[in-house]
């Protein structure tokens, strides 16, 4: 009864070429996007997913400077804070190191101290709009005071409160010098961010003189040298024979907020009775 409608599909050569081209193009694009350097997942290296190792482990430098802080040994004397403040001419109100009293879950006191953790995947480095802070090949997170514009985004982004801003031109006296050390670096100008450097000037000068940072006192951070109970140990994490590497290999250590993936270079040994 009803008329039959026939649907004709016309496929011209041009249509065919367009369809074929789109298909080939999609496959190529998929290939590039999933495996190529443009892939959004390119930064997730397979080995990183498997072992949790830092992306930066493969840098050319033979060094990765790191620290172990033994919370079981620390007595909370604040010598590290004072030596650091004297040596790096830091404002006593805004110290680079902090030392605080804490309680573990058993209710017993232990002391917690914190320098800059020199993260290998540092949030502060990622957010800086001018690359005024960067991770060096040897793992140190360094500030370029001549480039910083003082936007304080790094201070906002650092998960560990390690960064401090120069709110004014400083006129304060270095109250810890000369008892705890003498200033070895210039004061930072008004309007820039500063933070713990692991005493980079000592490390660089020491290496020039053929010294081993972490072993020779002249090329070791001031906080490590002054610690009366050897709660802080410094050295090359890439050298399996260094003291830090051996301690990390032998003892149970943890890093602060490891779940953020920041890959800090500072390892902590918990108090014997646990945290």
């Amino acid at each position: 009864m009803s008329k039959k409608k026939t649907v004709k599909v016309e496929l011209t050569r041009r249509d065919f070429l367009v369809i074929a081209g789109t298909a080939v193009g999609s496959v190529a694009a998929a290939q590039v996007l999933t495996t190529g350097p443009l892939s959004p997942f390119g930064s997730l290296k397979q080995d990183q997913l498997e072992t949790g190792e830092s992306v930066h482990e493969g840098t050319s430098s033979p060094y990765h400077w790191g620290m172990v802080i033994d919370l079981d040994k620390c007595i909370g004397c604040e010598y590290c804070l004072r030596a650091c403040t004297a040596t790096n001419d830091v404002e006593p109100e805004r110290t680079w190191n902090i030392v605080v009293e804490e309680k573990n879950s058993a209710g017993n006191t232990f002391y917690f101290s914190r320098p800059c953790l020199h993260c290998q995947d540092a949030p502060c480095v990622e957010v800086c709009p001018v690359k005024a802070t960067y991770v060096r090949d040897d793992g140190l997170v360094i500030m370029d005071y001549t480039r910083c514009i003082g936007c304080r985004y790094c201070e906002v982004a650092c998960p560990y409160d390690a960064r401090k801003f120069n709110w004014e031109e400083r006129t304060d006296e270095n109250i810890y010098a000369p008892t705890w050390g003498t200033p070895e670096v210039e004061r930072r100008p008004r309007g820039v961010i500063e933070k713990c450097t692991f005493c980079v000037h000592r490390i660089d000068r020491g290496l020039e003189q053929g010294l081993i940072p972490g072993e020779a006192r002249e090329s070791t951070p001031a906080c490590v040298n002054i610690c009366p109970v050897e709660a802080r140990v410094f050295g090359n994490l890439k050298d399996p024979e260094s003291t830090v590497s051996k301690i990390i290999a032998e003892s149970a250590t943890f890093r602060l907020r490891e779940e953020l993936g920041t890959e800090p270079s500072v390892y902590y040994i918990p108090p014997k009775e646990g945290l």
Partner: protein
């Protein structure tokens, strides 16, 4: 000549003089505060290492969001082809220009080294959202100048340089290209401003993927309503109709629907953060904010009721949509809501202390922040600048050229 003189007489009225005097006072307050900040440093602000961002960042974010009318209405006219809105594009772009320059002025005050403001253009960190924002804002400001140049060249002052008119005409012809570029760049940075907060993984109430989308949605819905309100206000002050009310009403309606979409997203964001996806860190943060700060009041009253619900009713309900007073009131409420939101995001996020301690005892104190006199002073100055620009623009630029309608 005689007519010109009489026009000039009309031009300077007692009302205008007192208006300009008020602007002068605002600008003086701003300049004195800015001088203080430049000589003494940011120490005279109430920002600290615990709360390093405050009122100025809030003003930055808000004025950029409120400038969003420029790209939205340009795109509506030149890309969607809705020529009906042509008469308001100039005003929208001009208001946007004022918003963006206000933001840049505030930013220069806020950074510790204003002398290095140009560094992001030279030293690139392509991973930084702030770097991307700086670039986008600069680019977009340039685009707005290009888009607006033909209007400036129309002023009688430029009669003596006919070639400028030709340049202006050329720029006018290629306006759709600017609109397209402007749309792209604006969509990028308006949302990246939210990402500035959204990517910070150590701050529990910031770290979420909805941040950039909420920022752009609020900007796109509230920005055009500011242009709408400015058009009404200018009409009331000048006593003559500048833009057809039907156009302004449609803009209000669009803003209303935009705000509804924003509210919808905010609802699911709230549900995800406080109910489905709650984490101990977010719970602790929200608990601290609700017990120690007026965060909840700011959120529910400032952002939701004043910022969204009331404007939505005023913009969409026929009873209010027909009455300009309610549209202007609604626009100002929505603007207040956006400012409240940007403040709540910035300051509350920083008030919650970082938690990285291995033990149970030590936590950083909750950040305390209320802007200092100098910070308020600078903001007052910025408002003075915006009002001065608007006044000058209205007086000297053909913002409401009737010819434009035939032209397009």
């Amino acid at each position: 000549m005689a007519t010109l003189a009489s026009e000039r007489k009309q031009f300077i009225t007692p009302g205008l003089i007192s208006w300009l005097m008020m602007i002068g006072i605002l600008l003086t307050i701003g300049l004195v505060s800015a001088f203080e900040v430049f000589t003494k440093g940011l120490i005279i602000t109430n920002m600290t290492d615990l709360v390093p961002w405050g009122l100025w960042i809030t003003v930055d974010l808000s004025s950029i969001a409120l400038g969003a009318g420029a790209f939205t209405l340009s795109a509506v006219v030149y890309l969607l082809g809705l020529k009906r809105f042509v008469p308001i594009v100039r005003l929208a772009v001009f208001v946007g220009f004022i918003g963006y320059t206000s933001a840049l002025l505030t930013l220069v005050m806020d950074i510790g080294r204003p002398d290095r403001f140009w560094h992001p253009w030279v030293y690139w960190n392509v991973h930084s959202v702030l770097w991307e924002i700086t670039w986008c804002i600069t680019l977009y400001l340039t685009i707005m100048v290009m888009e607006f140049a033909p209007v400036i060249f129309e002023a009688p002052f430029f009669d003596r340089w006919p070639w400028l008119r030709k340049v202006g005409h050329f720029l006018h012809v290629i306006t759709p290209a600017f609109a397209l570029l402007g749309l792209g760049v604006s969509l990028l940075h308006q949302s990246s401003l939210g990402a500035t907060y959204g990517i910070v993984k150590s701050r529990p109430i910031w770290f979420k993927p909805s941040m950039p989308i909420m920022f752009i949605l609020s900007a796109v819905s509230v920005g055009p309503s500011l242009t709408m309100a400015v058009a009404f206000l200018l009409e009331w002050v000048g006593g003559k109709r500048l833009i057809e009310h039907s156009i302004l009403r449609t803009i209000a309606k669009a803003s209303g629907f935009g705000l509804l979409a924003y509210a919808y997203l905010k609802f699911w964001d709230l549900a995800a953060v406080t109910y489905y996806g709650q984490t101990p860190a977010v719970n602790a943060a929200l608990h601290l904010l609700s017990t120690q700060t007026p965060y909840n009041f700011g959120f529910w009253v400032g952002e939701i009721i004043i910022g969204i619900l009331l404007p939505v009713v005023f913009f969409l309900h026929p009873r209010f949509n027909k009455r300009p007073a309610f549209l202007v009131l609604g626009a100002f409420m929505a603007i207040a809501g956006v400012i409240m939101n940007r403040w709540n995001v910035t300051v509350s996020g920083l008030t919650v202390p970082l938690s990285y301690s291995p033990g149970t005892q030590y936590v950083l104190p909750a950040g305390q922040y209320f802007p200092s006199l100098a910070e308020w002073g600078v903001v007052v100055g910025i408002i003075g600048y915006a009002l001065l620009m608007l006044t000058l623009g209205v007086k000297f630029l053909p913002l409401f050229n009737k010819e434009e309608q035939h032209h397009a």
